[in-house]
Structures are given as C-alpha cells and as structure tokens.
Amino acid sequence: MRLAAATIASRSRVALARATALTFRRFHPELPFFLLLADEPHESIRSEQEPFEILPFCEIQAPEESRFRFRYGELELSYAATPFLIGRLLELGFDGVLFLKQETLVLDRLDPLFELLARHSILLTPHFLEPPRGRDAFTRERNVLRAGVFNGGVVAFSRCQEARRVLDWWQQKTLRLCLLEVEEGLHYEQRWLDFFPSLAPSCGIVRDPGINVGHWNLAERRIAVRDGRVTACGVPCRIFRFSGYEPHRPDWVTRYNPELRVESTGEAAGVFRRYQLLLEECGWRHTFGLRYAWEYFDNGERITPAMRRLYRLLGDEVERFGNPFLSAGEGSFYSWLRSHAPHLLVGGGRG
C-alpha cells in the first residue's frame, strides 16, 4: 500500500505544519509528507528546506478556485480544502492518505492506523470513546453534538470507489458550506463527517485511545510520560492534537477553553512543553508574522469577513464578477461593493 500523509496551512501557520511533519517523518521516514499551502508562496518556505513537500493551492484543482479562495477566510479555507487535498493525493496514485490537521504531534509509529486503513475505505476518530466524565461532561457532549461526533484532525482515506464517492460529496459540501453556523447545524468541514458512516459501509471508527488525544478528551485519556514515551490510558499515545493552542499563550491548553490551563493537565503538561519547544525550533515567531495573501484585493485593500459573507450570500450571482480579488473594471466585485455596500470599504469606498 503506497501511503502518504498531508496537512494544510497558510504561511503564518507553517511552523505548526513543520512540527507535524518533523514528528511524522521521525517515525515514518519512508513515507512522504505533503503540505498544501493555502496561501501564496513565500521565499522563506521552500520544499528543499522543509520536512514536507509543498503543494501549491492550484494543485488541488478546486472548481471556481478564485471564488473558493474568496468565499472563506484564512482558517475556513484551510479546512475547506481538506477533501480536495486528500482527493488529489489519491489521484496522484497513493493508495492511502492520512490527513493530519496542522497542530499535531506524532509521538509513535502509526502502523496500527495504517493496518486499519488497509481494511477500511475511510477512518474516522471520534472525539470521545465513552461518555465524558467530570463536572463539564454535559458541556463537552453538547459541544461535540454541535461540532460533530468525529474530529476532523485525523482522517484517513483509502483509494477505492466507496471512499471516492464520499470524498466527492464532501468536496461539494466544503466548496460552499464550510462555515461555523451552529444554528444551521454547520461546523466547518467537520460536521459533515457525521454522515460518513451512513454513506460508506466500510468506514472504520478508530477506537485506539492513543490516537487523536486533544483538549476535548484529555480528562479521559490518562496521559502518562515514562522515559520520554507518552501513553494514553496505558497504550502508546501516537497522535496528540493541539487544537487551539497558541504558542504566545503557552499556559493555555486551547483558545476554545480559556479556563483550561496547561498546569492542570497532569503529565500531559510535559507534552505541551515539548510542543512549545518544538514550535520555537520551527520558527513560529517568524511565520506568525507572515501576511495571509488572500486577505487583500489586488489594490491592497483588506477583504473583511463581512465582505466574504456578502459574497457568499450572493450565491451564483457572483459568477459575473470573475476573479473577485481583482479590483479593476466596472464588472468587478470590488466595483459592485463600491456601489452597493460602500460602508464595507475603507473610507466608504470613496476616492
């Protein structure tokens, strides 16, 4: 089985992708690791110097690419591109693709996961393997009901007709509905994963407590560190996720739960410290300062979330604008904004 692993990041988050790729390659030097750069290239990010092979965004051949890039903000786009990246790698001839979200640490070999993938079309990892415990159990369950039963940080697809069919459907969804609109049942690309077990009879659910440990299940996973080896519930911890971790706030476990502090996580605190050190080595202080290229029109004016929202609300009407990043011409989206929603532009679009 020809395998590959991959992640997605914009330029500012490349340090996170480096940490993921470095730790993956440490345990699996024989396998390629790809980064889909959801941003314009940058001179400081070059395949020959990186632990990953860079795929430019055009490589995934997303339909209506410029519209796709305009519809979403930086974070949303990196999520929405997930099924396209997996699909592209399968088209390139890989038999199995492991997708890891950018803020991941691989702590052991992933052979058990790959063996499982050989027997399934798709692999999903649930947020919980048992009802959560503790005073916040209900809140955590409710969060998962809103965000999706399965976590989008570790997903694997094998090359087969069943997986391809589901991947095509997922692509259709994330092309337009990779949004955080809880009242509509939407939670980026992740809520759609709930459909997979219905759509794919041979979809497998990974029940290894050492895979996809994250802030949502830390309380149940009993993290221990012995001689540098990390275990979860007594089994090797293979994939540890740092969803919402911010290196400039190293005391916080995640920005999604400001009350949860690293020092309160027991032995897991050591893993967080290790991650922080690795991010320093991976140059987060430099990359976090890199500008997201697709947040600006070609005239340098910033594209705000309100503009993107308006663009999405226009539906298929936006086809007539062509590339929405281009500001010149009477038929551009920028011109349309100037005449229909000038309050959204800096200085009301005057001058």
Binding site: L145, W169, I205
Partner: protein
C-alpha cells in the same frame, strides 16, 4: 460477533419488542401490533400506554402485554411528566423501555415506533440485533452520496444521523452503560433546541457511534424505510408484496404521516405528494385504510391524554411558560416542588 452477555435469567424468548403509545396514537399502535403479529405471532411484545385504560383491552387482544404509564416506575418519570409534552415524553422513555425488558429477563430488546407497518418477517433484522450490543438504522445509505439532497442534509444535521424508530439492544455491560447515559440525558434534555445540538431523543443517538464499540449500523433498506429514503430507493409492488431494491420491504416507518391529509407523505417534508411517489403511493393508501379500520377517527379528539397525569402535564406547560427554562434546567425533585409552589402561589 456473538456476545456472551445475557442477563442470565431464563426466559422462553430471548428477544422482545417494545413501544410506547400515546392516546392519540392508539390506532397507529394497533396497526403496528397487528402487522407485527402477522409475521411474529410469538415474539413477546410490551407496550407502555400513555393513554386511557379503555385502550388496554383492544391492544391485549392482539397479543401484547400492556402496562399503563402511570403504573410504571421508571427512574425520573415524575419529573419528565412535569417537564415534557407528550411527544418529548414518549421519545424520552425509549432507553427506559429497553432497560425494562432487560430487567424482565429478555436478553435482547427491540424498540419500534408505533407509526410503523411490518410488511414481512423481521427475522434477518432480529438476527443481527442479537449479535450486537446496539443496532441502529441510518436515515440514508450510500446511494445518497451520488444524488445528494440539500433539504434532507439540513434536516439530518438538525435531527441526527440515525432514526430512533427502530433500536435494537442486547443486554451486556456496554449496552447498559450506554442506555444509562442516554436515559440520564433524556431525563432533562429531550428537547428540540437546534442551537444546542439537540433534537428530542435522536441527536443524542449520534454519539452511539463514539460510545458503543459494538454498534451495528443496520443497512438493510427494507428495515425502517421511510419517506426520507424513498427518492433513492427502488420500491415496487408485486402481487400485494412490497420490495425495496429487489429485497423484501420489512418495516416501513410512516413518520409524520397524517391520515387526515392522505395526499402528503409526511408533515416533515411539505410538498412531497403521495401520488408522486410511484409504487410507494399504494403503500401509503394501504396504511391509511388500516388506520381507519383501527379507529383512527376515534382517536382524533383524544389529544395525547395521559391518564391521571394529563392535568398535571397541562399545568406544567403553563408553569414552564411562566418560568422559562428554569424548570428544564432543574435536576432535583426539591427544585421542582419549589417551582410548583411558586406557581400555585401565583395561581
């Protein structure tokens, strides 16, 4: 995988079927029981009746063991009677019903909604139920990915991936743990609050995919088929027998069907007219005829009448309106009593 997790109590039939019927669903319940008996004359059938005592005899004649809800001692029942309306209450009782059958000594329990019609033997479905800790039926199948429907996708994001109209459970530690958790959640949160990720009993079932290692997803399109799957399935009638994808149609779920508006398939999908459903139209016409034969007209004016407790439920609705979410959020009986006194003081 065969599980060795029977309760150990000797019973003649390991598998039993259960449902809960409200007063306004007695006709549906009778149609369900009669159709089940046609193919399974001996399977033990337990019905909890949240309705008038005079319906008991008619259901028992069909070979069901009927117990009035007011006689049940389910944990938290009194609080649920105060907290919920009829639909919420019936949905919230599902895990209690399954656990009740385990306590009676049945090693395997199947819950079916009362608004289903059994059209062929359920033996193949029962066989897989017996082999797994929990068995659920998904709303959609693989065919959906090729012809997706945004309306249905939106509905499922709100209402859940599995349908609560057919649930199979085998008595083992894993199932008891899951049912215990589900029961605790439904005691206070069998509500329709989409923003909070809740839809009666059903959204909670999505978590079964995470919590239950031995969950079996029963993909037989003939088991718990319903309006939501009709456009994707090939349904045909041959000499009075219905087939779906060439296989027998075993159990059809008439979710949201109103015999008083027989031209529509379900109130949950306005615009889907029965006469546009091809061979399925005959199925809906058959169901309407059966409902009328079983006295559907007589049940119309019954509301969902809960004997003894109905008045309390009605009052509780007013309490709920007065006190907003406070009552639902309340977990302790003392709190309920205090709220009750507050309301009585106002009244």
């Amino acid at each position: 995988m065969r599980r060795t997790c029977w309760s150990g109590v000797a019973v003649a039939e390991p598998l039993a079927v259960t449902t809960v019927i409200a007063a306004n669903y007695v006709a549906q319940g009778r149609v369900m029981v009669r159709s089940l008996r046609r193919f399974h004359p001996d399977v033990p059938l337990y019905i909890v009746l949240a309705g008038p005592r005079d319906s008991v005899g008619a259901l028992e004649q069909l070979g069901a063991k009927v117990v009035l809800l007011s006689e049940m001692r389910f944990p938290g029942l009194r609080g649920m009677l105060l907290r919920y309306d009829c639909k919420q209450l019936c949905a919230a009782l599902k895990p209690s019903l399954l656990g009740w059958l385990f306590d009676l000594g049945h090693g395997c329990a199947v819950f079916v909604d009362p608004d289903v019609l059994v059209l062929d033997t359920l033996e193949p479905c029962f066989r897989v139920v017996l082999e797994h800790a929990l068995t659920l039926t998904p709303h959609i199948g693989p065919e959906f990915a090729e012809r997706p429907d945004e309306h249905l996708e939106h509905t499922l994001l709100m209402a859940g991936m599995f349908n609560g109209g057919f649930i199979g459970a085998t008595d083992c530690d894993e199932t008891r743990r899951f049912l215990g958790w589900w029961r605790r959640r439904l005691r206070t949160h069998c509500v329709e609050e989409v923003r909070e990720g809740m839809h009666f009993d059903q959204r909670w079932l999505d978590l079964a995919a995470a919590f239950v290692a031995d969950l079996h997803i029963l993909r037989d399109p003939g088991c718990n088929a319903a309006y939501w799957r009709l456009p994707w399935l090939e349904l045909e009638e041959r000499a009075g027998t219905f087939f779906v994808q060439g296989q027998p149609l075993r159990l059809f779920h008439f979710s949201g069907y109103d015999a008083g508006r027989p031209e529509f398939a379900s109130r949950f999908r306005p615009g889907w007219r029965v006469d546009e459903l091809g061979p399925a139209a005959a199925l809906f016409r058959l169901y309407q005829r059966l409902l009328l034969e079983e006295g559907w007209m007589d049940c119309l004016d019954r509301g969902c009448g809960l004997p003894q407790t109905y008045k309390i439920v009605r009052l509780a609705r007013q309490v709920r309106r007065l006190l907003g979410g406070a009552l639902r959020a309340s977990h302790r009986p003392g709190d309920l009593l205090r709220l009750w006194k507050v309301w009585c003081g106002r009244a």
